[in-house]
Symmetry: C2
Subunit: 340 residues, 2 copies
């Protein structure tokens, strides 16, 4: 099976030089006759030589490897984040260990140990929700960047989404489209993310001298079903509602369904804004959903970039960096139909 892989020594022998020369030739270091360098390069190619990165890492102390520890790789959350991480890391030939803790502290600890042993250059710890967590138990000296969930140690660096800003974005857009009776249906009140989104909405409504339709934020679950039920409740409390901002695209789907059942047109009678920009959910909706994109890909990119900074020894201040959200415009907030 496992045939012998050529080493610098093999290349050296074939090129008729010493191993030191091979190393210099292949890494463009030191002074070498051009002819020699060419001969070495040729020999290396002929043998299909690939430098053993373990040996390189052992010698250099750098592994060109970072790990992403995530509590959930399911669904909408982890994927755009990973994309952004790879955007930033890919250029540098940095490879990514993916570690899923499945929300289990034991697993996390286990992974942290393994990563220590593997001498990764840095670690990105990604949480699913905005909350404070204990710092990762890893060898001191290894750079760590926290994503979304931030470390309880204020000297740690964290990058996160702008949920308040997302709420503001949605609210301003609805006001600009001429809506004034805006309701809000979202996830569990015990989580910070939905509370921040609601805060963003409220701040805009306050400045405009408007009240929340239905007189309250409808906190509930992250499900379509909650969207359906809450929409009933909201419309019961405030039948003249002309817009609903939803804390997730899933909730928005449920809301839209209820509206359709009630023969209310979207956006004709009621405009709907979602949150997440979870493509299959938002684009598949009828009508397609205008929704706040939390910019997770950019979050990932920023996290990885800062991590590279730290690895390179460039100072990165502790604290939280917030990445702005943006609004994906689709039809659910389109201009009111003529005659509506």
């Amino acid at each position: 099976m496992s045939q012998r892989v050529p080493t610098v020594r093999d290349v050296a022998a074939r090129a008729g030089v010493s191993v030191g020369t091979v190393s210099k030739a292949l890494n463009n270091r030191g002074q070498l006759r051009e002819e020699t360098r060419a001969r070495v390069v040729a020999a290396a190619r002929e043998l299909g030589f690939r430098p053993n990165s373990l040996a390189q890492g052992l010698q250099s102390g750098r592994t060109y490897t970072v790990a992403v520890i995530t509590t959930d790789r399911f669904g909408r959350f982890g994927n755009p984040l990973m994309l952004g991480v790879e955007d930033a890391l890919g250029a540098d030939r940095v490879s990514v260990f993916l570690c899923d803790t499945r929300d289990d502290p034991i697993r996390e600890h286990h992974h942290a140990e393994t990563l220590d042993e593997r001498r990764v250059d840095g670690i990105i710890v990604a949480g699913r929700r905005k909350q404070t967590r204990a710092p990762l138990a890893v060898a001191s000296g290894v750079p760590v960047v926290y994503v979304i969930a931030q470390s309880s140690d204020p000297s740690d660096f964290c990058v996160t989404t702008d949920d308040v800003g997302g709420g503001v974005l949605a609210a301003r857009h609805l006001l600009a489209s001429g809506r004034t009776r805006i309701g809000h249906i979202t996830g569990p009140e015990r989580f910070a993310d939905p509370r921040e989104r609601a805060a963003g909405l409220s701040s805009v409504l306050d400045s405009a001298g408007l009240d929340l339709a239905g007189g309250q934020v409808f906190y509930g679950e992250w499900s379509e079903d909650w969207g359906r039920r809450a929409a009933e409740m909201l419309l019961h409390a405030a039948p003249d509602t002309d817009a609903i901002f939803c804390g997730s695209d899933q909730i928005a789907r449920g809301v839209v369904e209820t509206l359709r059942d009630r023969r209310l047109r979207v956006p004709g009678d009621i405009a709907v804004v979602g949150f997440d920009n979870w493509e299959p959910m938002a684009a598949g909706c009828r009508p397609p959903l205008t929704t706040v994109d939390p910019n997770l890909r950019e979050v990932g990119r920023v996290a990885a970039t800062r991590l590279l900074d730290m690895i390179a020894g460039r100072p990165v201040e502790g604290g939280v960096e917030t990445v702005p959200a943006w609004l994906m415009l689709r039809e659910s907030t389109g201009v009111r139909e003529a005659g509506a």
Copy 2:
């Protein structure tokens, strides 16, 4: 920043023994006085010693690392697969490099090179669709397992989903629920996956002496919108249809929406079966979708297990191993309501 990490030498010094003794003590090898072993272990713990896995790998030729090369980490596909892979690998302290090619051959080649250099123990190449692809261009001798997309080299090993079987499952279930006028709406005809699902359905209908409602398979796109449009077409062609098997949960969502618009009850008038068991789509549907689960987690588990076999030198025959699908029962195929 980067403080010095303790080595065997440090542990040896602290325990007052030699490095060789440390190694033996920590790895339970050779004959050692129990007292000495304990002293070494204590010293190691006090120093927070973690063996450098690069050095271990260099020396042993094993890195306890495998890579998963995937063409798309988006959405429903990659996540359950990765879960299964980690199920099988986790026990062994094997870490996973995640490489996303973004469907770009250049990127794939680039990743293959890097993985060669890193001396990964094995590689899982995951495609999104059932098709034949060129073998991964990697150093000979490195075990590779293909997932879903199979290698054109018949001596390579591939594990894949049972789409024919999935179609059979759906069909039998519908027949068993008393449906006889079954239509089929699915994805693009140019892909093998939807064709196989259709073949499974047809085989069952044939044996039962039944025809496909609407007289044809409705091939189209993997979108809700296609589901909506195709449902109209199907009902136009065959108004007495009493069940629709859909090639994806997204399509099924669209179908269900059209049925609701037409005041047709699901499952009362028409039963609907989806494909994928993509939780948020299928469970969020009203009514929740009965759907074929292609068992991707198991596919991942099998792939990783076979890869470990190959790495361990246990022979694994080339060819394709098919993992059975199963049916997730929800309400969209429930018993007909009384009086319907």
